[in-house]
């Protein structure tokens, strides 16, 4: 009886200190670390209805396309989409706050080696997680950006170009920002990346917000689906060196 009580007490302490993460369907040895880094504050469940696309083999480890489509969770109210890569030296890729936009985002990342790319989608129920394995030749994160080889990027820093397509139920927005997105892992090149990007509509309505981290590809292109009714679009942003920008999107 005495032993039993100790065991029960001890077990209770453990489960209080470490909520055990659910078993990883991608069988990555980094999963528990990722869990404790990013997810442990909320309940976690794997959810196959979230579509995470990335090609099986990364042709260019500096530009690996990723799509996260969490429209299946729209009724639960998506507050944040966190994207990370278990085996990247800097695992966190970005946080996306859909606000008035669809819980859908496409962009490209740098990866260092074969790794799961995961999306954790936060609703009132907690984190819903899905992901895919991507194989890569590697070197993506520790290479200097291509713009470091060419000084002209400074003249174009934070320039934005964009395209808008009206569709039946939404508008497709694609925009590119000129930025080297240096990870700080290449010798002699300090970390330099966009930190915050906001998308605004009429009367300063915040339509979406993105917090990119170092692994987002150089001169990032983001693809979002925004409400059909949105007009007077503008994008603002700032990088970790305090360079800010604000542009209106006009044809």
């Amino acid at each position: 009886m005495y032993y039993l009580r100790i065991l029960v007490l001890w077990g209770g302490l453990i489960s209080f200190a470490y909520a055990t993460p659910p078993v990883d369907p991608l069988k990555s040895v980094q999963w528990e670390t990722m869990y404790s880094l990013f997810l442990q504050k909320h309940p976690v469940q794997f959810d196959k209805t979230i579509q995470v696309f990335s090609p099986q083999d990364a042709e260019d480890s500096l530009q690996v396309p990723v799509i996260v489509d969490a429209r299946s969770l729209v009724d639960k109210g998506v507050e944040e989409i966190l994207v990370f890569a278990d085996f990247n030296p800097l695992p966190k890729i970005l946080s996306f706050y859909p606000k008035k936009s669809q819980p859908f985002i496409a962009f490209r990342v740098k990866i260092q080696q074969a790794t799961p790319i995961r999306a954790a989608v936060r609703t009132k129920e907690g984190w819903h997680v899905n992901g895919v394995w991507v194989d890569a030749a590697g070197g993506g994160c520790t290479l200097p950006s291509l713009s470091q080889a060419n000084a002209s990027w400074e003249d174009h820093l934070n320039e934005v170009s964009a395209g808008i397509w009206k569709r039946e139920t939404e508008q497709r927005l694609r925009f590119q920002i000129i930025h080297p997105m240096d990870t700080g892992l290449a010798t002699g090149i300090p970390v330099f990346h966009l930190e915050q990007i906001q998308l605004w509509g009429k009367e300063n309505t915040l339509l979406a917000e993105i917090h990119p981290q170092e692994p987002v590809s150089e001169n990032p292109i983001f693809t979002l689906n925004i409400p059909l009714s949105s007009t007077q679009l503008a994008i603002t942003g700032i990088d970790n060196n305090g360079n800010d920008f604000a542009v209106e999107l006009k044809p």
């Binding site: 990335s54 042709e59 030749a137 397509w165 694609r174 044809p251």
Partner: protein
């Protein structure tokens, strides 16, 4: 007109391990004095050691002409050993059709012989040879041991030449890479097209220019060849390889342009279905995804035209 069916028996009974990384190259005579070594219709793997390429040699009275040297030093050496078994004439000339790794990384086995390539091909090997080599080590591992990117030593120009009784025409074409060599043996009617034509194996585009490529195919159609030797896949005796390559390139070009016009993200383009008439081509899905990475960025930038400072 029909396809010459040739079966490759390489490595069918022994695992690569037991055979101590032996490529088991088997020459197949396809015309007078003309032999090819057929690679597998596969991607580079640890198992096939990069033997996915067709190389060739022509035994002329004045010596042997070697066309492409394979994916590694080991391949080049095996090729040389094998040629020695076919003929005791010396190898007098080596040609690389273009600067992709599976076509020139065996050059190290022929360093004592003149190695020819088009000037842009030599430039390409100079610029990208190291990177290609590193990547091949990653893909096929120990098969690559000792392999270094060895530069061709002589620039080839678009001139006819004769070796023994064989009269060759050299054509400097483009599209698969910046410059692609086609070699026509007018004596035998054998046309070596390198990677300008693919048949039943998806074409690759890391350095491709689709419009230039289509132009090269138009030209190849005009040559009176009897047998066409491709860089990958089986031999052909008709134009079906040219036609399939054209048909896929046209679809690829249109798909990418339409996708950019519709505002698709790169990952969405990668998930587009391959049309039914092309679906049976080996590795088509994977190569299409690679091609999207190579060719889409330029097209998508053209449609991002909104931008104004506040």
């Amino acid at each position: 007109m029909r396809i010459l069916f040739i079966f490759c028996l390489c490595g069918s009974f022994f695992s690569a391990q037991a055979a101590k990384l032996n490529y088991n190259l088997k020459p197949v005579q396809i015309a007078l004095d003309t032999y090819i070594l057929l690679g597998k219709s596969e991607d580079f793997t640890l198992k096939n050691g990069g033997n996915v390429v067709n190389t060739a040699f022509v035994v002329t009275k004045s010596g042997v002409l070697v066309l492409d040297t394979g994916s590694s030093l080991r391949y080049g050496q095996a090729m040389r050993e094998m040629i020695k078994k076919v003929t005791n004439r010396p190898i007098i000339r080596v040609i690389n059709t273009h600067h992709h790794p599976d076509h020139f990384l065996g050059n190290g086995a022929f360093e004592d012989i003149d190695i020819f390539a088009l000037p842009d091909t030599i430039k390409g090997i100079k610029q990208e040879g190291e990177g290609f080599t590193d990547n091949m080590y990653r893909l096929v591992g120990d098969w690559m041991r000792g392999t270094e990117p060895v530069l061709p030593t002589k620039a080839l120009s678009e001139k006819d030449f004769s070796l023994g009784q064989h009269d060759f025409s050299v054509y400097a074409l483009q599209g698969h890479t910046e410059k692609d060599l086609a070699l026509f043996d007018k004596t035998t009617g054998v046309l070596f097209v390198g990677d300008l034509v693919f048949y039943q194996r998806a074409l690759t585009t890391p350095h491709a220019d689709i419009k230039g490529w289509l132009k090269s195919l138009e030209f190849l159609k005009t040559l009176p060849f009897k047998v066409m030797v491709l860089g990958h896949g089986e031999l052909l005796s008709d134009k079906r390889g040219i036609e399939q390559t054209e048909s896929y390139l046209r679809w690829l070009e249109k798909t990418l342009e339409d996708s950019a016009q519709k505002g698709l993200a790169m990952g969405e383009v990668m998930q587009i279905e391959i049309p039914e008439n092309l679906r049976q081509i080996a590795l088509i899905k994977k190569e299409f995804q690679r091609s999207v990475v190579h060719l889409y960025p330029r097209l998508e930038q053209e449609v991002l035209q909104f931008s104004h400072e506040k």
